[in-house]
């Protein structure tokens, strides 16, 4: 009844239960954190703007991104994945989301940053709808925990526009 294996089994079960409970509690404490991030994005330059031979519009932008995501970090945060997406509507598509830039923030002291960059991923439309197009730039962040539930949120910045003519 109380053999070695019986005890070993009981001990292992207990240890795993406690570990699972602690992981769950660590994840629950994430809910107590109410982040107040700030972000500011400017389109500093439109480098070029053209129609590809296959008929899709493509534009190259230079972006100035400054953000403070320090409040998204808790003790259960492994990293924060941050990315900037252009969002707009076209006659064909009710929603187009195109990632322009992303980055991985590994620690809290690197969560306040300001960079100038050209778009990392190509800004290509499905079709030729980008001339004079109004679009939103949205800064998204995904909090990846050490264990437990993942969180995501965003800041939408409206009021960006593309020129009427290719250049």
């Amino acid at each position: 009844m109380h053999s070695f294996w019986y005890r070993a089994n009981a001990l292992l079960t207990f240890a795993v239960t406690i570990l699972a409970l602690m992981c769950a509690m660590a994840s629950i404490t994430d809910h107590l954190n109410v982040p107040q991030p700030q972000a500011d994005v400017q389109v500093s330059n439109i480098n070029w703007f053209r129609k590809q031979p296959n008929g899709n519009d493509e534009v190259s932008l230079t972006l100035t991104i400054s953000a403070d995501l320090q409040s998204t970090f808790t003790w259960n945060t492994k990293q924060v994945f941050v990315f900037l997406a252009a969002e707009y509507e076209t006659p064909k598509n009710s929603l187009n989301q195109v990632s322009l830039w992303d980055g991985i923030i590994p620690s809290k002291d690197q969560a306040k940053f300001s960079i100038q960059t050209t778009n990392k991923y190509r800004f290509i439309d499905q079709g030729s709808n980008l001339r004079g197009k109004e679009f939103n730039l949205t800064l998204h962040w995904h909090v990846m925990p050490k264990t437990g539930r993942m969180f995501a949120d965003k800041i939408v910045m409206p009021g960006f526009g593309l020129p009427q003519e290719y250049r």
Partner: protein, 180 residues
């Protein structure tokens, strides 16, 4: 040696009634595992609610051997979400992040492009030949939760099958020989 000997003795000394009880116990363990798995499938709406990360393409977020919990809800796919998808002609599903979404006006169909955080380029090279976008039916679920290291158990068991059989054998012996 003493352990195996006593185990053999106890197996030999079993009566038919006891043997049946043990068989039922074993069956209960197997079926309850199945019930939990199928229950999770119902709750999460995903055909595989738990997946193990097999590659380093999402590092440092997800490492090999980490476990992801998936959900498949009616919510439309959006950029930034980490989805698990099948590619035609590939057996093993891939866990990567969505970087582009184009959603149709009337039908609501989506074109999705993915990329691994740790990869240099997007996933078009991984897709079937000539495939530019993923559609809704390629996607098995989106990752909602994360547990580190636990998946190593399954990785070790699939790569070293002998350990799997040893473990199953030992557990079976334990169930058969344990007397309540």
């Amino acid at each position: 040696m003493g352990l195996i000997g006593s185990a053999r003795d106890s197996v030999r000394s079993l009566q038919l009634r006891q043997l049946l009880t043990q068989a039922i116990n074993l069956g209960l363990i197997v079926t309850s595992a199945l019930i939990i798995w199928k229950g999770l499938m119902c709750v999460t709406g995903s055909e595989s609610p738990v997946v193990v990360v097999l590659s380093g393409s999402m590092e440092p977020g997800f490492k090999r051997g980490d476990i992801l919990f998936l959900r498949m809800s009616k919510d439309p796919i959006r950029t930034g979400e980490i989805v698990v998808f099948h590619v035609d002609g590939r057996e093993i599903p891939i866990v990567h992040r969505v970087i582009k979404v184009h959603e149709r006006q009337e039908t609501g169909e989506v074109d999705v492009l993915t990329k691994g955080d740790n990869n240099f380029g997007d996933d078009r090279l991984l897709y079937a030949h000539g495939q530019l976008w993923l559609q809704q039916h390629h996607i098995m679920g989106r990752a909602v939760g994360f547990l580190p290291y636990v998946g190593w158990v399954t990785i070790i068991m699939t790569e070293k099958p002998i350990i799997k059989y040893l473990l199953i054998g030992a557990l079976g012996l334990l169930v058969i020989t344990s007397k309540e």
